[in-house]
Each structure stands twice: as C-alpha cells, then as structure tokens.
Symmetry: C2
Subunit: 645 residues, 2 copies
Amino acid sequence: MQMHASERTIYLSNILREDALERWISQFQQPIRIEKIAVQTANQRVLAQPVFSKRSVPHYHAAAMDGICVRAEDTFGADENCPKLLKQKEQFEYIDTGQKVPDHFDSVIMIEYVHIYDDQTLEIRTPATPWQHIRPIGEDFQQGDLLFPQYHQLRPADLGMLLAGGILEVEVIARPFVTIIPTGNEIVSPAEEVEQGEIVEFNGTVFSAFIDEWGGQSDLSPIVKDDKNLLRAALLSAVEKSDLVIINAGSSAGSRDYTVHILKEIGEVFVHGIATRPGKPVILAKVNETLVVGLPGYPVSAYLGLEWFVKPFIEMYLQTRPKQKEKIVAKLGRRIVSDMGSEDFIRMNIGYINGEFIANPRSRFAGVIRSVTHSDGLLIVPVSCMGYEQGEKVEILLERTRKEIEEAYIVTGSHDICIDLLEVELNKQKKARHLISSHVGSMAGVMAIQKGEAHIAGIHLLDPVTGIYNDTYIKQFLSHMDIVRIPFLKRMQGWFLPKNADFHIETVQDIVKSARPFVNRQKGAGTRILFDLLLKENGILPSQIKGYNREMYTHIGVAVEVNATNGIGLGIKPAAYEMGCQFVPICEESYDWIMTQEFFESEKGQAWYELIQSDSVIQEIEKIPGYRIPRDLQVIHYPANTSVK
Amino acid sequence: MQMHASERTIYLSNILREDALERWISQFQQPIRIEKIAVQTANQRVLAQPVFSKRSVPHYHAAAMDGICVRAEDTFGADENCPKLLKQKEQFEYIDTGQKVPDHFDSVIMIEYVHIYDDQTLEIRTPATPWQHIRPIGEDFQQGDLLFPQYHQLRPADLGMLLAGGILEVEVIARPFVTIIPTGNEIVSPAEEVEQGEIVEFNGTVFSAFIDEWGGQSDLSPIVKDDKNLLRAALLSAVEKSDLVIINAGSSAGSRDYTVHILKEIGEVFVHGIATRPGKPVILAKVNETLVVGLPGYPVSAYLGLEWFVKPFIEMYLQTRPKQKEKIVAKLGRRIVSDMGSEDFIRMNIGYINGEFIANPRSRFAGVIRSVTHSDGLLIVPVSCMGYEQGEKVEILLERTRKEIEEAYIVTGSHDICIDLLEVELNKQKKARHLISSHVGSMAGVMAIQKGEAHIAGIHLLDPVTGIYNDTYIKQFLSHMDIVRIPFLKRMQGWFLPKNADFHIETVQDIVKSARPFVNRQKGAGTRILFDLLLKENGILPSQIKGYNREMYTHIGVAVEVNATNGIGLGIKPAAYEMGCQFVPICEESYDWIMTQEFFESEKGQAWYELIQSDSVIQEIEKIPGYRIPRDLQVIHYPANTSVK
C-alpha cells in the first residue's frame, strides 16, 4: 500500500497567509441563506433585514408612577396653607404605573404626595403640572422607527425591544452549515478501543465546538478511510448540502495525502501550502461553488488553520465583525528563533512577576495539544522576522483574561503529580488565584527563579558528589539572591520490573547479572543522575549495562518500555503503579520548593505556604503510592552572597 | 378593585447594593446538581471533578514526520561524499506521520532527505540521530496526568484533549434551572392583540436570553394575574423545581404589588428595596431553601437587577469567575446630577471625537428600553457622590467594543428617518464604521457641535424672522468655528387630518373656522416654530386656536391624537402616512447636516459626504412620502468669526 518517494507530492507552495486569505475571501460568492425565526429564539442571531417598529411604545399615554391621575388645572393654587380637595371619579382616579391615563385627565401625582381626606376625597398640597409623570405615546420609540439595521447582531435586551415594537418574528442570516470530514486509515472514533498506531479522532469535535461558538452550524461526518473513491464520494456529497466543507487531514504531502489530487479533479484548488509554522499544509479549494478547506492533522496546526480560514468564513457569511483577542506586552523569558520566510505561531505561558508580564514559549511541536489547552497567549513572529532576544518586549494575544494571568501562581521546574493536586485544591478552595505550571526540569527551574520568570520552582537535584538534594545547586546558581527552600515531598525511587516479572532485582549488580535490557532516562534527569551515582558507588561501568543508551523522557515512558521489553527501569513509584509494573524501593528523593525571599514574604507567597501545609493537600498527596510529606515543613533561608562551602 | 392609599406599602428599605449582595450570597447554600455528559457536548461546561488522563498521548512511539524509519546506527558516517544505502524491510520502512515506529527501528528520516537508488534501496547523505522525529510515549501528556482541575470551564480544544486522553464522558455542574414568572393584570403575551393600557410581556424573553448566555437554563412561565392565590400557587410550584425563581414585577409598592406579602407568608424576605436609581424595588427572598428574586417591571431597572443578583447567582452555582466589561475613561459632555444616598446607573452614549472619548447620558427614565439597547456604556455614580461636572473624566463600563466606538459616526440633533436609513446603508455597505445617533433636537444638535460632542448634527431650525432654515443659527451660535453646512433633505410639512375626515383645511384661518381641536407640538420644536410663524403671518392669536396648549412631543404622537380627537395637526408627511392620517401639504422644510470644517475634511468626514450622495441612499430616502434630496449637494462653508448679518 505504501507509495514510493517519487510518487509523493512533496512540495507545497509557500504563499503568505494574508495573500491566501485574500484569495479565500475573493472566492466567497455564496448565496447567503436567510430564515425567519421567532424573536424569542433570536439571541445572538444576525438580522438579514432592517427592522422597523410596528407599534409606538408606549402606544397610549401611560402613568409613569403609582398614584392618582388628575386634571392639572384642578390642582392649580394648592399649597401647604391652602390644600385642594379632589373627588374620586370626577376629579381623580387611582392609577398604577403603566396604566392608561384616561382621556379627561392630563397629569399624574405620585401616591407619596396624596393625603386621605375621606373615603371618596383626597387632599393635595402642591399643584401638578400638565403631563407630569405621564409617558407620552412614543416616548421610547415610535411606530415606523428603525429598531435595528440590517446585519445587527441581536443581544438579549434587543429581543425585548422587538417584542415591545410588535415584532414577533425576524428574518436572520442562517447559521452557515459546515460539514467536517475526518479522514485517515489510522483514525478511530473516540468510543473505540485504540490500538498501537491508531489515533483517536478528536479534531472533529474541537472544530465542531469552535464553529458552533462562532455562530455556524457544524455537522461531523463519520471517518473516511484513505481511499480515493470514498474520499471523492464523501466530498461530493458534503459540498451538496454545505456552505463550507472541512477535510481533515490529508492536506500535506504524505503517501496517503490524496485530498489535493481529488480536489483538483472535482474542483479548483487555489492555495496549497502557506508560509506559516506550524500550519503550512493547508488546502483552499472550491467544488461546485462550495468552498472547501483542507486542514493538517496535528491539532495545533489544525486549530490555527481553522481560525485563519473558517472563522473569517463564518464572519463573512454572518456579516459580523471579527472578535479580537486582548493584547498585552510581555518580556520574553527566553530567546525565540524563527526562520525567515515563515510566520511563526508560538503558544506562550505568561506570568505576572515583579509587576511585569514574562512570557515563555511552550512546546512548538504541532502535535502537542497541551500546548494549546494550557497556553496563556499566542505570539506571532512575522515572516520577515528572525526572532526575538531574551528580555525583548513582544505583543501577545491573550487566551485567558489579563486578570487571571495577573493572579496566577507561576510554578515551574520538574513536574510532579503534587502540582496537579495543588492546582485541584486551589480551584476547589475557590481562591481567586490559580496555577499555571510548565514542566521544564529541575535545572531549568533553578534558572527560571534566577531570571525572575516564575514564582516557585519544584526541584529534585541530587548532588552526585555529596548525595544531597537541592542545597548545592541553590548555593551555586542562586548565590547572589535571597532564596527560600521548603523541603516538601519525599518520593520513593526504585526499580521498575515488568508486570509479570519472574525475576527480582535489588542492586545494580543484580542488573548486570540478570543481563536484561535496562531502560534509561535522558541525561540531566534527576533519576539519571541517581542511576549514574549508583553505578559509580558500586564500581560498575555504563558499558556493563545493556541498553544504557536507550533513553526515555518520562517515568511513565520507562514503565511502558519495561513491560514491552521485559526489562528493568528506575523511577518513582506512582509511574510503576500506574502501568502495573512491579516496584522495588531504593531510596527517597527530596522534591523541594524554591522561591525568592521577597516572594515568600509577599501575600501571595504566604498564601502558598499556607496552601501546601493544609490538611486536605497533605491528605490528597499522601494517597499517592510512595509519597510522604513531612509534618511541620521547614523553611530554609539562603541569604544573598552565601558562597559554596 | 383599587385599594386606597392607606392599604399600600409605600416604604422600601434603602440598603446598599453591596450589602444586599452579601446577604444574597450568604443565603446561597443550595446543593449543586451534577450531571454526566458526553465530552462532545461539553463545550463551555464546568467540570464538577478534576479529570485525569486514562491514556498517554501518544500511547506508542510515533513518527513525527512523513519519511522512513531506520536504525540510527545504520546511518552513522553517511555524508555527501560517502552516502549510505539502505535496504527496504531490513534497514528501513516507509512511515507516515503518526504511525507507530516498529520496535526494531529508533529514528525517522524526513522524506525530503531520502534519495531513491533502486526499487528496494534508498540512499541517504546525512546520518540520523537516535530518536529524531519520533514522538515518545507520553510526549503530550501521560496516563494519570491531571488534564483539568475541578471547576475548569471547558473550551473547544479542551474537548480534544479529553478525547485524546480516553475520556468520553465528564461530570459537569448542571446549568442552574431558573424559572421566570411574569405577573400583572396589564401584561399580555407578545402574540396577543394589545389594547390601550396593556403592555406586552417582553422582560421574560430578555431574562431568558441573558440567563442562557450566562450558563443557566431558563424556563419562562405563563403570565400570572395579580391575584394572591394564583401568585402563591405559582411561586410554590416554581420553587419546587428550580434552583432560582424570578418574579417580575410586583416588587414595588403599588396597590397590586402582592409579591412581598406572599413571600413573607411562605418564606423569608431578607431585602426589599436597595439604594440604587433605577432598580430600587428589588426583593430578595428564600422559600423552602430556594432563592427568589423579585425584579421591578421597568425594563431598565429589571435588567440591572438581573445583572446584580441573577448573574452572580449563576456564577456562584457554576463556580465561574465573573465576566467583566471593558472600562474606558471618557470626558462628560454634560453635567450629571445624582442624589446622595443612591447609587445611580446611567446609560451613556460615547463618541470618539478629536482623539478623546466624550460621553453623554441617555434618558435616565427606567421605562425606556431604547436607553439600554442603544447605549454604548454604563456610568455608575457611587452612593456618596452628588454627580459630575461637564468636562470631568469618568470611568465607563463598555457595552460595545472600544473599536466600534472609535470608528462610529456620532450623529445628533433632530431625529429624522433618513438617519435610520443611513445607518442601514452603512451596515449594508459593510463599512467598518457604524452610526451612533442620539435625538436631542436641532438646537441641542448645534450646541453638540459647538462643544465637540458629535461629528455631525442634523438640524431644521426655522428663523421666525426671515423664514429661512438653519443659516441664522450657525452664524449666531457657531461663529467662532469653521463650520460646514450641507443642505440635505427637503421634507414636506402639512396639515394632519383624521383618517376619515369629512372636512378639509388649507390655511390657519380654516382651523379657526372649523373650531376643531388642534394638536400642537412642544415649544422649541421646528414644527411649533412654523405654526407660530403661520399664525403671526396671518394675524391669528394662539387663544383663537382650540387646544393650542395641548402639546405632543413627536410627529407620530400628533398623528395619533388627531385620529383620536378628530382634530387637526401639523407635521411631516411620513408620520401622517404611517398613522393613516390625511395630509395637506403646506411647505418644504430644510433638514441640513452641520459639522466642523476639520471633520468634513477628514477621511471620516469625506466618507460621510460620499455616503449621503450615493445613489442607493438617495433612492431609499426618496421612497419616503414627501421626501426629496437635491441632486449635486451644496457644501456651504462658514469660516470662523463671520458675524451675523
């Protein structure tokens, strides 16, 4: 089934996104469908016609207050010394707000200014002026007045105005109907069992939610396999019934990327490939007067492509103004490198630290959906720009509110599940603050504190010389700063053995003896430092360990590989537990919080200190296998200029 | 059926809004309902539980690029001078993005760097490093990782992450169920014929749209008449099935405002009356553990009360953060007076003129729904503040985007239907700009230009001495400015006679002779000036005109009264036409645009000049009975310091 390289279309064009958008917009010539709907269901809909009132409001002279209606001339001359008496029916009637003022009366007196004389008679002590407290006909608006122009998007109060004006139904622009066709042999529906090499179809659900939010009406088709005939048939049937068709993926240049060929055959392709990173493999086409967009499969690229072309399509169709994200200016915590000739879209984390916004890039790999869901903002690097230096100020489009970012804790360093639990606890306690975490490893965590990029770092750095955690590194790298370390979590490290292992391991010598493959961690990982220390202490050379060079990047990855290869690994207990590995404990490692003294003393810092000591937090964390929190947390101060011992 | 004054509860408490809100929040102890729903339908919903991944993503080592997978060691040493040949199956396999890398390979080479040697053999010219272009297990996230904490509000991309993580259903907080009970003898359903003294029920529809937008689920009950037993039964049945009940209106102190009495009888009332204007008559109560809010009937007050108490209720229930409106600082175009002891909420129009925001109050009467639908922002005057001076800077909560306000044309002066049509045309032409109009009368329009509060004013001011329109007034009031006048619209004024009149009128003498009631306009209105001029020219005294003192504020109002009283009026043709009156033309009046020379010369001003000359605008306006636009519009310049002739 595989084609050879020669049969692949491996070249995409590289046209500017704005140029692609211009072609896209110029191809938009669809007839816009209009529908008549009840006003009660018309919130957020866009008027297809201007609406003029059918009724004046009020449509009669109405009392504006509760009180009595009178003829003003009957009250002239009344004062405290010379009150006037008024007879019911002839000279006054009680009236409530909104009631019609009878034709023979021309003024309303508020009930507060009326004094009872007898059963049929009232006394008043100030005169009324003609038309006081009366809402004349058409005070709000008049029959024939424009209520809303064409293309106005209705808001809740607008519905009230329409009903008041006698309008029961409105002609609105129909929601553009967008069919989404997920394609690919490797794609399976979310409800199915997923095998290795298979990917769950989730882009369609995301597209669908975005489209509905933007005012379209989405229809998610069943998955179509990579078969030219099936794809052609699916496309032809979709364009029949849709205002727009999205096909996902197959828009690139892989051996099974048929989409562009089929679209050329049954319609016209006017863009294939745009100068962006990620998001390059986009197809813009037209089949039988219906626009079709092919989006790449990687979620990050796919959602960008959706925003670049589908959102403007819906806005054009509905004639609404583009909704714009809030912008802020932030200082870059890291250098950003960009190629000339492509516009880069980089998801950022943003922290509010020492009164300024600091932004750092998340993973730039288009496959990582977490980079979208856990991002705070988007940095766009223009085509002609080669990037930005660390410390440079850049403009960022926000994906959270500015307030959320200002209030959040920025936690970085090595990832541990306890950060997740702290996030859960913070949200549960309904603190205004929440937690933004990025997982960059312990050493980068130390550097983030040094550079003022995070409030708190979680680190577990073993000194390979002394065998002590964290202390040495603070003295070495943060000696010029006032730092606080809070030893927080003790977590058990140990050997991972396969689920159904028929062998046992206690020491590194046992590994050598067993001759089984070892699954290692990458250089710089805390667990790798521990393993190398164990080898050194026991006088064993890396070359004696089979698979020493096979590096995994996570504890879970190690556990999976241990099961798959019937091998041995080293890591923390919960990962072994999660993947069903056997676990042989070796030693506890220390996972500590570090932060500046200044932050620790701040209100925010003290709230953190309180949080990590709270009973519910400790209880939740100690449910994790191999996890222990010391009672009475220590706070160790490292004043500036303490040199390495 | 009317009660006497003595039976009314005419006193409301005057507690601060914040204090009322605090009581309201402290009474919120409801059990929060939770429901399990499919991830596909969970956009915008709030998680009731933290969600942890059931699967690592990727859950196998996956190719990150289209290309071939290899063993890195087979490629070591390859370079341009010494390429390596690789045999299919043994040494390489083709692989597409996302496919599983077979266990015996450990690297992926992009298709672009592969050269075909023969059918089974490829040539490579650079070595691969181990694990290049491979996504290791858990690169995105790992089994057991926290995907989202409790109370996280899901967004479209989050749904993708959940599905990818093997989550098909989520527990979310149920939308709080809010029952809305409209009450009142005078209230009729929008679909019914409305008689004089009756009001269409539209608040319920507005409440409903707001509640659904805020994340609640609304249920609009049928209208309940002002009958204690019916009201009690409706309330008791609503509290049974609801998380919150809204009763509207009857929350004030009118003779039929039973609500507070019934609520005291069947539950507990903890607030009746708050220190705000408008919005004072709010009831906050609790019946059988369900919160009940009574809101006033006037739309402006009702929607404020909804925002003060129902929005926070929904946010508390859903545990979401309050959405906040954007704020700007604007200069007040007019003085704002406020009573000590009440917090004032004033809807504002905002214009962006000469580089600053200028804000002017709309009608402050709570019955005018147009003040809500056509407002640009809300000014809140604190309890302890007595108001602001003209020119003072105040903070305003925006109800449109800042960009919309910056781009809009601010048109003021006398209202004419042509302004509506220009608004329609602007929207139709999809100009970025739109039109914000306020109708203050011609003279106030002149003043607005003088004070720099509007871009353009539409005026029709007759000089009672010369009988000429507009010219005199510019020379008199704007002599210190460079002004442009564009005579725009000629509209026919004439006598209004009743629909089925059996008499005819040509002159003012005829009116005197007929002895029929005349329906006049208010002092200062252009039409009133014309009528007074006609009387003077014909030597007739006001006292000779029956009903001379009966003043209406609008053309439509005059037409309605003419029909109702079988009388005579004076006004413009379309109003007569709209209400079916007979019309006897007298003379054309000039409705002109005035603006500063500076604005006229600006890009925005020139775009306006183009707009008002466009064929479609002229065509649409000339469809109006009695309306005529001269071809080749004149532009008359009034340089500064031109004195009155």
